[in-house]
Amino acid sequence: MKVTEKDVSYVADLANLELTEQERTRMVRDLNSILGHVDSLSELDTKNVAPMAQVSDRFGLDDSKQGSERFAYASRDDVHEGLRKSLPHDVALANAPDSDGTFFKVPKVIEK
């Protein structure tokens, strides 16, 4: 067993999940089953292989350009006028579970 009940509690904490007793038991079983399969990756020697976080920097770009120049199309001029307007206040708050019309409202943050 790689993942214990204690690990599940710790990770649930990091992930802002509570999980019931039943869910925790199930999670220990499922994570161990999946990670058991994932262990096959250790068969591969990847010491000299660069990690790949995404594909955009490798494909579809103008190879004649270097560095950030290759992504120049993705930025715009630094202007103050003519930008797309932000959402109006009331629209931005329309889906809020609780608000006072100006701010999102949440329970007390600082506990005594």
Binding site: A15, L35, F59
Partner: protein, 477 residues
Amino acid sequence: MNLRNLTIDAARSAVAEGKISATALAESYFAKIESDDPKIGAYLMLSKERALTKAAEVDAQVKKGEKLAPLAGVPVGIKDVLVTKGVRTTAGSKILANYIPPYDCTAVARLESAGAVVLGKLNCDEFAMGSSNENSAYKPVHNPRDLSRVPGGSSGGSAAAVAADMAVTTLGSDTGGSIRQPASFCGVIGLKPTYGRVSRYGLIAFASSLDNIGPFAKTAKDAAIMLRTIAGRDPMDSTSAEVPVPDYVVEIEKPVKGMKIGVAKEYFGEGLEPETRAAIEAAIQKLAKLGCEIVDVSLPHTKYAIPAYYLVATAEASSNLARFDGVRYGHRANSVRSLSDMYRRSRDEGFGPEVKRRIMLGTYALSAGYYDAYYLKAQRVRTLLTNDFIEAFKKVDAIVGPTCPTPAFKLGEKVDDPLAMYLADIYTVTANLAGIPGISIPVGNSKENLPIGMQIFGKHFDEATILRLAHAYEQAA
């Protein structure tokens, strides 16, 4: 009007020639949905007002004799992970049960600008996490071909709606096969474009480096029209590529004779059902008869794709889904003690079991002490998997193989075994890790009359070639 196998051009022409109004066409789809969907479950929400407003606009254009856009009056459905302004968007999750987006997804906006009539939002696995559509928090989708079977996932509703003629064409999303696998299971065409080909703006994020939006259609030409409409640079998504979009509708008519088609032995190994194998081999023979040259290629790291994928995808998901905290939108738990209690209980109540499982796995893979062994390792293997394709594509124009190891399985069959469910994605996750395009096309039926799909992979940004092959196959079949 007979809706059976109605294509984009047939629908548009009927509207343009005044055989049916766009309004009446939309109404007949709504009637069809109302009669047939209760047993299938493809739609989560109908957007009648929005559809009829758009249809009326098209009808006014017809009346005035104006030139009609390529999708004028064509009824489409949208997977519920794509946000639609003013139309409830849930991502198949209880946590977004009451979410009314304040903006439109770029792909949806582009379809509507091209005249499409949005009928409603399609059922899917919660946050697009699943391979059977059984993870929808609302209801499962039944495969129109056999109601006891799954339609595939996560875009099960999008595939089923096309298969059951409840939309001419639909949009789905594909993070590890979520367009191609349900297309295969339901006997329709499903296209996952190159990463960056279609803007992801307005797609509720699952795994940002793997997510793609793409179409479901009845013909390769319809898929070509859909891709042409939604593809191309969008300033709202910095990862949408500035690569010119060819006219796929013209491209698909070009000959396929002399094309080199790769077949990778790693896609025909253990686990591939004999009937599926036979159907794919027959389809490859058909491509050979069309003058394609069949070439053996190797994708040696294929067996590591599932573990690499499920680490990368869940790590990204755990980060993306951190935004659901009950503050700005979505479900908030009642009578909470503190802010942190609110976060936890809102997420606990709002997310379903598979989403929690993936958040947990991803958080674990990113946590101190495990980051190098899991997440970073998976990213390195991702490089190897991508290089496999780069090498293979030095020799061939496209690579073909099965979309899935088996036809559609029964509802409930794999629901208690997440690993078995993940392993069913073996042939599809590779394209997402490498960022290449892939299309699934129907190539036959099993003895039980279940559809079998063949997958065609292309080079980065070369959707034209795989659509051309799909079209040539379809014309010959």
